[in-house]
């Protein structure tokens, strides 16, 4: 009874403040395409007295919700992406089990304008050595909420399968802590975790499908298999059976240990290391081209477009800011009819974030 009373009080508080609940973001409906524009209001130059007040209010609200969460226990923590969708300003579970503030941006009516301060993206004008430098996180997040994968049907083995969370955890527990992983914060102010990185690779490689409903293994032209698209020889070297979902994830995580800890990528740092590690995952960690900086790599016509595109996808999946020239490359290589660069960024980010939730 006591619990329900507390929830009712909390809901009342949220209801009476429903309008301000949207205001960490200014909504601009005057865009040329008549789309709502989300503009981060937490940029120092964009702060007004009113937004400062609102931020203060939300800090208090966040505190109240934290207390409620602690009191109510098993009710709020079970919130999944579907429940989060209902929250104007929700608390989004992060990969490491902590929570970050976030709001859901919905396709069609909102364009993520990426006006947030660049926190970890690679600057187009910077040198390879400085490109990966991590800058302090922007406080307050405008990250879109995660999209949960569809439950697997038939013989399908996907990130929506009942066992996936267990496999994912086992793979990360076994190998992710071994990675020499850089400390990088994305444009939403979130620290990128090893689990986020695993999710990104799974999404890019297979869109979370290990086996389809007919029981056919996801296989590339070259023969790469499963969730993390391990090549047969690589799987053999990693001593895993790539056809088995759980082992495929373990093999991928172990492979990333090799990439992060040895070869040319291990000598890189910051966002540069994250991006080039993804390129190494696609191209091969011991390719002589892995010595290149991301800035040189993405421009090199000698490098496969697929691998250069892979680096861009990784940035989108992890919420790293794309530079202007990178947006042009995304438009040229990756955007399909009916999509925009921004919708693609959001699709990659939200789907990645939803894996294993």
């Amino acid at each position: 009874m006591k619990r329900y009373a507390i929830i009712l009080i909390a809901l009342f508080c949220l209801t009476i403040n429903a309008a301000p609940a949207q205001t960490p973001f200014e909504v601009n409906n005057t865009g040329s395409q008549a789309q709502k524009k989300i503009v981060a209001a937490d940029e120092p130059q964009a702060q007004t007295g009113e937004t400062k007040e609102l931020r203060g209010f939300f800090k208090i609200l966040k505190g109240v919700l934290d207390i409620l969460k602690a009191v109510v226990g098993g009710i709020i923590p079970s919130a999944n992406a579907a429940e989060i969708d209902e929250m104007p300003i929700g608390r989004m579970p992060a990969a490491n089990g902590t929570t970050t503030t976030g709001t859901r941006l919905t396709y069609g009516d909102v364009t993520n304008t990426e006006t947030g301060k660049q926190t970890a993206g690679v600057n187009g004008n910077s040198s390879g050595a400085s490109a990966g430098a991590t800058t302090p996180a922007v406080t307050g997040s405008k990250a879109p909420a995660a999209v949960s994968p569809d439950p697997a049907t038939g013989k399908a083995v996907t990130t929506g399968s009942a066992k996936f969370k267990e496999w994912f955890k086992a793979a990360c527990d076994a190998h992710c802590s071994d990675w020499e992983f850089p400390d990088v914060t994305n444009k939403y102010g979130e620290k990128i975790t090893r689990e986020d990185y695993m999710r990104a690779i799974i999404w890019i490689e297979s869109r979370g499908v290990h086996m389809n409903a007919k029981g056919t293994l996801t296989k590339s032209w070259a023969g790469a298999q499963g969730f993390m698209q391990l090549m047969p020889n690589t799987a053999r070297g990693l001593k895993v059976n790539a056809k088995d979902g759980a082992q495929n994830l373990k093999g991928g995580a172990k492979y990333l240990t090799e990439i992060f800890n040895s070869g040319a990528v291990s000598k890189k740092s910051g966002a540069e290391k994250l991006i080039m590690a993804a390129c190494a995952y696609n191209l091969g960690p011991f390719s002589s081209s892995m010595k290149m900086s991301w800035n040189d790599f993405k421009k090199s016509r000698k490098m496969p477009t697929e691998t250069r595109g892979y680096g861009l996808k990784l940035k989108m999946c992890l919420g790293l800011e794309l530079t202007e020239d990178e947006r042009k490359l995304v438009k040229e290589w990756l955007v399909t009819p009916g999509h925009t660069v921004d919708s693609l960024i959001e699709e990659n980010y939200t789907n990645t974030k939803g894996i294993g939730r």
């Binding site: 590339s220 090549m231 091969g284 011991f286």
Partner: protein
């Protein structure tokens, strides 16, 4: 039967099957490696050694030339897996070049190719090419001009749908050029 006898018989069987495993002192590599001949000439025996690094997926493959008791390393794979070595006189100077095809192990199935130019028995790396999904190299004179070319058959994943293509390279004046 004693344990040592079993080991001896096993090693003999492996040797007879055409693959020779040799002990290695290196602490960073696995204790066994595989050797196969690329060619034998009066200059010596060119050998491909394949070796898996210990506790790693990295390959420590290399190409060596042996002449009597002398051994010299011509090429080291530095983590990549050497899939095949082709020997052919590409510039018609009477000396055979070495074309090396390596598997990179990445999810894209890409390969790396290197060419060692041979001048007076001295091998110099003059070309390296990365890419070519599921690529396979061969050397032939398909156009009948009397000069052999490098042909790399691969899957072009940059077009939809993916299609099989062939890239052609020629060696001229010590430089490898891609044919249009």
């Amino acid at each position: 039967m004693k344990y040592s006898s079993i080991v001896r018989i096993t090693l003999a069987m492996i040797a007879l099957s055409g693959v020779v495993f040799v002990s290695s002192d290196s602490s960073t590599a696995s204790s066994l490696f595989e050797q196969s001949d690329v060619s034998v000439s009066d200059r010596g025996r060119i050998v491909l050694e394949r070796r898996q690094a210990a506790d790693s997926i990295a390959r420590m493959d290399r190409i060596i030339i042996e002449n009597g008791s002398d051994t010299a390393e011509l090429f080291a794979s530095e983590g990549r897996a050497i899939e095949q070595v082709l020997e052919e006189d590409l510039d018609l100077d009477g000396e055979k070049e070495l074309l090396i095809q390596m598997d990179l192990g990445g999810s894209g199935g890409f390969k790396e190719f290197a060419l060692l130019h041979n001048k007076g028995g001295k091998y110099t790396p003059i070309w390296e090419e990365t890419g070519f999904c599921a690529g396979n190299a061969m050397i032939a004179d398909r156009d009948g001009d009397g000069r052999p070319n490098i042909y790399i058959e691969y899957a072009n994943t940059e077009v939809k749908p993916t299609r099989e293509e062939t890239a052609i390279f020629t060696l001229e004046n010590g430089e490898v050029k891609k044919a249009e």
